[in-house]
């Protein structure tokens, strides 16, 4: 019976085209635990970095003295109702000295706030790369399931400089893939080499098609940014780190919320903790 064979062909042909929607960031909230000149420097850097949002943005600031703890911070954020939050890793935490956490304030804030959180490198840590917080000429959006994630692409596209590039990256975890193929190799009724080739090809085809449609649709909507694609197999963290260094990425955009769990999205946390040199936008 070839029913399944033809259903597969038609399912593969039923694609998920990208749907463009312009994202507006009318209200931006900057949160800092710094005071005085240091705070002003960070606020200035943030405004300069996000200059592409235009002059009509309503900027507000929460300084160290404006909140006392996590609960107080969340109340203030709720009150401000921002479209975008700008802060840095290990906000009000000494743990910036060790590269193992984002700090309790950010851990909670990223999961509770509806608005995306732009996390800059810690101002005192000295780990920021030279081009950090300068421009958004090259923005990279990553997720472990890029296909159909219109919001991620819309936000990333909005924060890419006009005439800049948006790199859409999708890495399939090679270790997991190899483990499944190893299991398949023990099943006599499935031809291992054929399964490896066809499953691998299909896994990478879907995000490639989606990225292609992102480029087409953005062009149709008169956006001048260039869409680049990186789809492949590998180790997530190592591969994204390699891309970040090789291509001098200015901003990394990724999802952090997971409906199935309270903690940050499975892939997002190790990336957010590990990639400390450039700003990250956590959705």
């Amino acid at each position: 019976m070839k029913v399944d064979q033809f259903e597969s062909i038609f399912r593969a042909a039923a694609k998920e085209p990208y749907q463009y929607q312009r994202v507006e960031f009318a209200r931006v909230l900057v949160i800092t635990d710094l005071e005085g000149e240091s705070a002003q420097t960070f606020i200035g850097d943030a405004k300069s970095f996000l200059g592409l949002l235009g002059d009509t943005v309503n900027w507000s600031v929460l300084e160290d003295s404006d909140f006392s703890g996590v609960e107080s911070l969340l109340d203030k954020v709720k009150e401000a109702n921002p479209d975008l939050i700008v802060t840095y890793r290990n906000l009000r935490s000494d743990a910036w000295k060790w590269p193992y956490t984002l700090g309790e304030h950010l851990d909670v804030l990223t999961q509770i706030a509806d608005a995306p959180v732009l996390v800059a490198p810690h101002p005192s840590a000295g780990r920021a790369s030279g081009h950090s917080m300068q421009t958004t000429n090259l923005v990279m959006a990553v997720t472990d399931h890029l296909t159909g994630d219109h919001r991620l692409v819309n936000v990333a596209a909005r924060l890419t400089s006009p005439d800049g590039s948006l790199l859409l990256a999708h890495i399939e975890d090679e270790q997991t893939f190899d483990r499944y193929i190893k299991t398949i190799s023990k099943i006599g009724s499935i031809e291992t080499e054929s399964a490896k080739e066809t499953i691998g090809r299909q896994l990478l085809k879907e995000p490639s098609d989606y990225i292609q449609s992102c480029g087409d649709v953005l062009k149709e909507n008169a956006l001048t940014i260039t869409v680049q694609s990186h789809v492949g197999m590998g180790h997530h963290l190592a591969e994204y780190r390699r891309l970040m260094k090789e291509k001098q990425i200015d901003l990394l955009v990724m999802n952090t919320k997971d409906e199935d769990q309270l903690a940050m999205h499975g892939l997002a946390y190790p990336l957010a903790v590990g990639l400390r040199e450039i700003p990250l936008l956590l959705l």
Binding site: M1, V3, F6, E7, F10, R11, A13, A14
Partner: protein, 464 residues
């Protein structure tokens, strides 16, 4: 045919009525087992193969079989008695056409057509049902009923799911299943009964098409109108619904299944050429001597050049069960011929025919339909064709058409009446849609009755 000619050159032995009854019982046993194929969990080829073995050994025991050398093109050749019993032209057509369609489908041509039509419908359910219905008829005519049902049924499942209209899938599958048997009437090579009866009657491809096409057009239109009315398939009401549906189907990419543009266009050309050559096979020099089986095998061979390194994968994908079934069936029928079972049935048939030109022709069509609704229409067609041949029926007689229409349309009465309706039910069950044997009959019988009534009227009014 050379082999048939040679095998009939033997003198027929005397056969007692008791012997004929024994073999008649074997034939009934075969028909019953084929009808209960699903219940006894046995493939057609195994069932027919076992009955062929029994028939042969008993035929040899009763000295019924024309053993000894056979004349092939004037040369005596020693062949086992069961080899000339098989109609190799039919086997060659089925083998070649299956292989050709299988390789052609790799070009993405059929899925391209299917998705183009889906997008053309803009997701409107009524337009979708009409287009899928027409596609079913055309695919059944050009390919075969089962492949047509698989392609259109699979697409229906995926596109209706995309349109969030899973509740209409059962209606679509049922109408498509019924239309496979209507479309299967369109050409000489659209279904196996057509090939068997058409070949026996000496009906050319073009003649077959010209006679069958008006009926197919009318029956398709009526089936679609009935389907839309009975299953309440309506056009989308609001502009919002239309835009949403259009957006959803626009996500289909018709080019996704096309791996090579060159092969796609080559396949399109070859498909058209295949239809053209098959249609004119009876008048083309040289080709007319080699027959349609040669054409089918030839086109399959040319297509396989593209996949020459992996041709064995296509051989593996062939429906060997169906081919084995045909071979065994021809052997059984051949033995039945020698045991005078077909002659006995022929007497019964002659009595029906004797009811008069109107009543007899109509009765043959209806009884062929009823018989093929509960058992495989292929042995029925093969048996009736053989009997009509032995009765010396004129090639222009409407009786041939009664058998053709009856054997095809009977498949619409029950889910086991034809392989394509069985595929439709299988797809329903795959998608957890409830459809019992009785449930299918209740839903399908109104359609089948109307189609059979139109067929009877058509044969009596236009083909006498």
């Amino acid at each position: 045919m050379f082999l048939t000619f040679a095998s009939t050159s033997h003198t027929a032995p005397e056969v007692s009525s008791g012997t004929t009854l024994v073999f008649g019982a074997i034939l009934v046993g075969l028909i019953v087992c084929l009808a209960l194929e699903e219940k006894i969990h046995a493939k057609k080829s195994v069932i027919a193969g076992i009955f062929a073995l029994i028939s042969l050994i008993l035929g040899a025991a009763f000295h019924l079989l024309p053993v000894g050398p056979v004349l092939v093109g004037g040369h005596e050749i020693n062949l086992p008695v069961y080899i000339p019993a098989i109609d190799w032209n039919v086997i060659a057509i089925i083998l070649g056409a299956s292989l050709f369609v299988d390789v052609t489908s790799k070009s993405g041509l059929f899925t391209w057509i299917a998705i183009k039509l889906t997008k053309f419908s803009k997701g409107d359910p009524l337009v979708l049902m009409v287009l899928y219905g027409l596609m079913t008829v055309v695919f059944s005519a050009v390919l075969n009923n089962v492949t047509a049902m698989i392609i259109v049924g699979s697409l229906s499942a995926v596109s209706l799911s995309k349109l969030n209209r899973n509740h209409q899938l059962l209606s679509f599958l049922l109408v498509e299943g019924l239309l496979t048997n209507v479309g299967g009437l369109l050409t000489l090579i659209s279904s196996v009964p057509n090939i068997i009866v058409g070949t026996a009657a000496g009906i050319s491809f073009v003649k077959f098409f010209l006679v069958a096409a008006p009926f197919v057009v009318v029956a398709t239109a009526i089936t679609l109108v009935m389907g839309a009315w009975l299953f309440k398939i309506r056009k989308l009401g609001s502009e919002e619904e239309r835009s949403e549906a259009a957006l959803l189907v626009s996500a289909f990419d018709e080019n996704d299944g096309i791996e090579s543009k060159g092969f796609f266009w080559f396949s399109t050309f070859m498909l058209l050429a295949f239809i053209g050559v098959i249609a004119t096979a009876s008048i083309l020099p040289w080709i007319k001597d080699l027959g349609m089986g040669y054409v089918a095998l030839g086109f399959a061979g040319i297509m396989l050049i593209r996949f020459k390194a992996v041709a064995d994968k296509f051989y593996q994908a062939l429906d060997w069960d169906l081919l084995g079934f045909f071979a065994a069936l021809f052997v059984v029928i051949n033995v039945m011929e020698h045991a005078l079972v077909l002659e006995g049935i022929g007497h019964g048939l002659a009595a029906i025919i004797g009811l008069g030109e109107v009543l007899g022709t109509g009765a043959i069509l209806v009884s062929a339909a009823v018989a093929s609704s509960v058992t495989d229409n292929i042995p029925l067609a093969a048996m009736l064709a053989k009997i009509l041949q032995s009765l010396g029926t004129d090639p222009s007689s409407p009786l041939w058409w009664s058998v053709i229409f009856g054997a095809n349309l009977g498949g619409n009465i029950t889910p086991i009446g034809s392989a394509s309706t069985l595929v439709a039910v299988t797809i329903m069950h795959k998608h957890k849609l409830p459809m019992s044997f009785g449930g299918f009959i209740v839903k399908a019988v109104p359609f089948a009755i109307i189609q059979i009534v139109i067929a009877v009227a058509y044969v009596l009014l236009f083909l006498r």
